[in-house]
């Protein structure tokens, strides 16, 4: 294995660049290094102005999402040696506005996440000294969707989100479903009103790329299709029983 590898990194300074351009950097190729290590090497030794987000460097915080050779990846979980002999192209995450270099504006996702009401909603609160008990089977029903680290790689992979910025997106819907399936939650109908709209769950055409790129195996595509089934059953029930039977 050669001991150097070239990275082609997007550089963009909004103050004086019209559009992003690539700059090449040669970094050491260490067997255990990930792309994030290479970016930190560039910042420490080659070009201190390179700007990028990262935090935990172990795949749990969701900060370091970027596009590596065209694929959305967490750079802390992407081994440099897998791309030898290179070059490795590192770009900011797709489908988000680029603020600077590899940093994108994620505020759109945060707005949509808030619309999903990702918290336990109770119609009737229990008194403070009573617990909400939950069996392992009840936990199992939503656990997979609770693994989301909000890294937004699914938004970068979703062509619907790229084409229609109004689409709620995979993570927001998967997290809504996480709370809908939680036995302690009573807010399913509140979320349904917001999400079962044209740009909510119905914007999804089941491309499935979100599930492919998810680093935590959340399967947002599955969550959305299950939600579509639930929404359809609710609509049928509302026709048959207009006044509802809770």
């Amino acid at each position: 294995m050669a001991n150097r590898i070239t990275l082609e990194v997007t550089r963009y300074n909004p103050a004086h660049d019209e559009k992003p351009k690539f700059e090449s950097y040669e970094v050491p190729l260490r067997k255990e290094w990930v792309v994030l290590d290479a970016l930190n090497y560039i910042k420490d030794h080659l070009d201190g102005s390179l700007t990028f987000r990262w935090s935990c460097r172990m795949g749990v915080c969701g900060s370091c999402g970027m596009t590596v050779n065209g694929v959305p990846k967490l750079t802390c979980a992407t081994f440099l040696s897998d791309y030898a002999p290179g070059p490795v192209r590192v770009e900011p995450m797709k489908n988000f506005p680029v603020l600077r270099d590899l940093v994108v504006d994620t505020s759109d996702f945060l707005v949509k996440l808030a619309k999903s009401k990702p918290w336990i909603i109770r119609k009737v609160e229990k008194p403070l000294d009573e617990e909400y008990l939950q069996t392992p089977e009840q936990l199992d029903a939503y656990k997979q969707f609770s693994m989301c680290i909000n890294c937004m790689l699914c938004y970068a992979a979703c062509p619907v989100y790229g084409l229609d910025p109004l689409f709620s997106g995979p993570a927001a819907i998967a997290l809504a479903q996480r709370y809908n399936l939680d036995s302690r939650d009573q807010g399913a109908s509140e979320r349904m009103d917001i999400l079962s709209q044209h740009d909510g769950i119905w914007g999804c055409t089941f491309v499935g790329e979100c599930t492919e790129v998810c680093p935590k195996k959340v399967d947002p595509a599955g969550a959305i299709q299950q939600y579509k089934l639930t929404a359809t059953m609710e609509w049928v029930k509302s026709l048959v029983l207009p006044r509802g039977a809770e």
Binding site: P97, V98, D105, S107, T205, E209, T211
Partner: protein
Amino acid sequence: MINPTEYLPKSYRARLSTYWWLTSWAYLKFILREGSAVFVAWAVIVTLLQIHALRGGPEDYAEFQNWLRNPVVLAVNVVSLLFIIFHAVTWFNLAPKAMAVRVGGKRLPNLAISGPNYVAWAVISAAVAWIVLRG
């Protein structure tokens, strides 16, 4: 969105190319899968034409069969068959993702949902073939 300020004058928004679906094999497979609906519609049209020809009598039906033998029509129908098979296979393989059926607390494996679909497809196809070919 973040509004431009003195220290953050603007952001760069890349436009998604019209040919985004050519940039990866997964996207191309998705567009082909969606496009197969056109060939499913064509198969329905051919079936309706066949029924219409049946009602017309033996000469009408012979004309229909001649039309089917036209090389262009034959080629289109062969391509349609391939797309319809692709449509059915992708549909059956995606169905388990949309239905999280839990039995005794554990989720059923994907084959438990896609398997019966394939079996039903094979059985119905065999039955139709037997009815059509025995005469």
